[in-house]
Symmetry: C2
């Protein structure tokens, strides 16, 4: 069997779907190759199920922080059932329907590049008229000390059907913090082990507030401690040996220490690229020094391992391929994957960030000034939750007089970050932001306070 | 007694406080004259107590819309006590302390202008070296048919210490809708009577969703009906006669039909201005054709009757007076009070809007295109509340290729509007907004969908 398409996309996650969709809208023919479920990690083992687990806990927490409200509680079985619904019970019929309606052909099975513009899926050989796009994403890395105890990865942590009695989580990044919040709320006794602090890529206050929030929820948060060994006894219990000589006991352990590109087994060696590499791309998602026909979008290019950034890159990539197929260079190229990446961490409290931290801005040689404000001092925050605790940090590019980045931590900040994303992406001058009046009394009034504190 | 100041401000609400504060920061001396509580309507009878009443109901509603959460309920006595706290028990000590710390002198009593740059407070004559600022705000208007039954106004509706059995509300604007939501949630049986629809200045979907939300909460919403008469019987019961010949019975009735400027009794006649007028100002808040020394900020100038806009105008006004006192023209002038006014209506669901509606934009001669999207179709919204219902409408200025306005209605949209406020105030081109990637899965992803629907 054989087939030929303008574009062949490896991976039917949100990134690959966006690439193919935009290519088809641009007048091209497109095929997607997927070896697992159409919809990808995000739909079944990441964003959707994790947020389905986390939102009920946040709603309870937010309600119970308001004087005059009482009684809000979680029903773990209902929360798990809700999660199952959001994960479409790990069936991809609706996503397959979307692919078909979008005019994209789907090939199921592992796809391998076998040469320039050629992909094999089982016995079927597909030839690409214009481009092959790698959108295979990433997979969790299990650190060596945990390899022998069959640990949970993000997949099991988002799809488990029973609440473990004791859950140890190794890793203080986003996955570790979110899953600690989720499973503790569902009734597990969670121990969170981090080699350093929590959420270390962000300003320290963010990890500090999350550590406090998790501890207040009952999580045993242990910072500055590595795992050196792990054993599982005959009854299934796990004992972790820690770098400080202590131990931690659990019924399950989640490895949440990092991710690797899913490029080991897609035939990269046939075109002179080392299997297992992250793929280095330009601002149209075209892989550098690979002949011009190979693209990589989403996690696999290592720019920003987030669903929304993968989708963004997917749109740019699909449009770029369609433009080049018409003999034109693309007019819309990636301007955000390095300097304007938003992220919301759905812990209690929430953390939301976009753009550059002070450290990142200074590394990039930009002269910045940092402005801090306690969100709880804003009227809207005190109304939102009695005793509101939260913090905002704005990083101002002093030369350009624009906002280079912002980080917020506190209840309900997740929907507040898009304002900063627009300010960063739009390079809106501070003097103009002064005229963007926050509505009173909302928490967004922190914008006024930050600008006043800056000196406007 | 006598005194002299660079600036004399009539009215110690948030607007007047901001005027005086900015003037003092600009190196001037300032006095504030206040006949009631320092802190103004907002602190005691508007924003703060109303939102203190509304937030618990919203938290309960939001929690109970999430599968897996149950049991959240309101305790009306606790909610009223919470409200009392946010209204500082109608004592202004903390605000008086703020005024003092800001270096502003406070004069208590009704202030009257008695001539150019002269204000009398009781026996004290104050002379202004540079400016007198009217920041006396507005008062509710009681429509004639309700005058005889001693109705609630916004003051009683925000400060009442007991829940009426039956509350009739006359007026379908923001006050009427918010107070219907608050008192119904607290246990009153509310009848909301509107001459037209609800929230009629906004696109029709907003009022439609609020009407549905109020009805779902048990409010008897009657649209297209005016009140022609009202009587109170010997036992305190009120009967309203309606334009359609029907009646409505209540224990209290709230007049929420509009506001008038508090300028009747401040001596405007001594300087040739009709008492009771709204005061017409330029973009520095200086009253036109009044000799150059008279300013008016906040509700009283009728530009935008909202606390945050009054504060914004207050900052501009105080800075402008300070600049002119140094012989310079102000560099920062009002650019938002007409074209970039944000507002959040804290009903269930919330409504949030900024900038121009289609109708307003077309009246201003701007060529616009309207883009609509169901917020519930965004993954973040379905995670936020099962069965999420909400709507977004974006008004695009086709010539400038910027956003002229946006209106959102749905649970939790209040903190989402500041993103649009920044886009409108910053005149961020649509093509640049495309690079402001919303974090997945938040409700802010509606931005992506709106831009895609537009054609990006």
């Amino acid at each position: 069997m054989a087939g030929s398409y303008d574009v062949i996309v490896l991976g039917a996650g949100p990134t690959g779907e966006n690439v193919a969709d935009r290519a088809v809208r641009g007048g091209l023919t497109a095929a997607i190759v997927e070896s697992e479920l159409v919809g990808g990690e995000c739909s079944y083992w990441a964003c959707m199920p994790s947020k389905a687990l986390l939102r009920p806990a946040a709603a309870v927490s937010e309600a119970n922080q308001v004087r005059g409200v009482s009684g809000a509680r979680l029903d773990p079985a209902q929360v798990l059932a809700r999660r199952d619904g959001f994960a479409h019970h790990w069936k991809d019929d609706s996503q397959v329907g979307w692919v078909k309606n979008a005019g994209i052909d789907l090939f199921r099975g592992p796809g391998r590049i076998t040469g320039e513009r050629v992909v094999k899926v089982g016995d079927t050989e597909l030839r690409a008229g214009h481009a092959v796009v790698v959108a295979t994403g990433s997979r969790p890395v299990v650190p060596p000390p945990l390899a022998g105890v069959n640990p949970w990865t993000s997949r099991e942590a988002t799809s488990a059907h029973a609440v473990p009695g004791r859950l140890a989580i190794v890793g203080g990044g986003v996955v570790g913090c979110e899953m600690a919040a989720a499973w503790q709320a569902l009734g597990a006794r969670v121990t969170l082990l981090a080699r350093g602090g929590l959420l270390e890529r962000l300003p320290a206050f963010a990890g500090g507030l999350v550590a406090k929030g998790l501890r207040d929820a009952g999580v045993d948060v242990r910072l500055g401690v590595g795992v050196t060994g792990a054993t599982r006894d005959g009854e299934g219990g796990i004992t972790l040996t820690l770098g400080d000589g202590t131990t931690a006991a659990a019924d399950e352990v989640l490895a949440a220490t990092g991710r690797a590109p899913r490029t080991e087994d897609i035939g990269l060696e046939t075109i002179g690229i080392a299997p297992g590499s992250w793929l280095d791309v330009d601002d149209t998602m075209r892989v550098r020094n690979a002949g011009g026909w190979l693209y990589a979008a989403g996690d696999v290019n290592h720019l920003a391992l987030l669903t929304h950034m993968g989708k963004y890159q997917g749109r740019i990539c699909g449009d770029a391929i369609a433009a080049r197929a018409r003999g034109r260079e693309p007019t819309v190229t990636d301007r955000s994957s390095v300097t304007c990446v938003p992220q919301v961490v759905f812990t209690v409290p929430e953390v939301a960030t976009v753009g550059l931290t002070r450290r990142q801005a200074e590394s990039a040689g930009r002269a910045v000034r940092v402005v801090d404000y306690e969100i709880g001092d804003v009227a809207g925050a005190s109304l939102f939750a009695d005793g509101y605790t939260g913090h905002a940090q704005m990083v101002v590019d002093e030369e350009r007089q624009t906002i280079a980045g912002m980080t917020l931590a506190g209840p309900g900040v997740g929907e507040m970050i898009h304002a900063a994303t627009i300010a960063v992406a739009g390079e809106v001058p501070l003097k103009r932001l002064w005229h963007a009046v926050p509505s009173y009394p909302t928490m967004s009034e922190v914008w006024l306070r930050l600008l006043e504190t800056y000196g406007l």
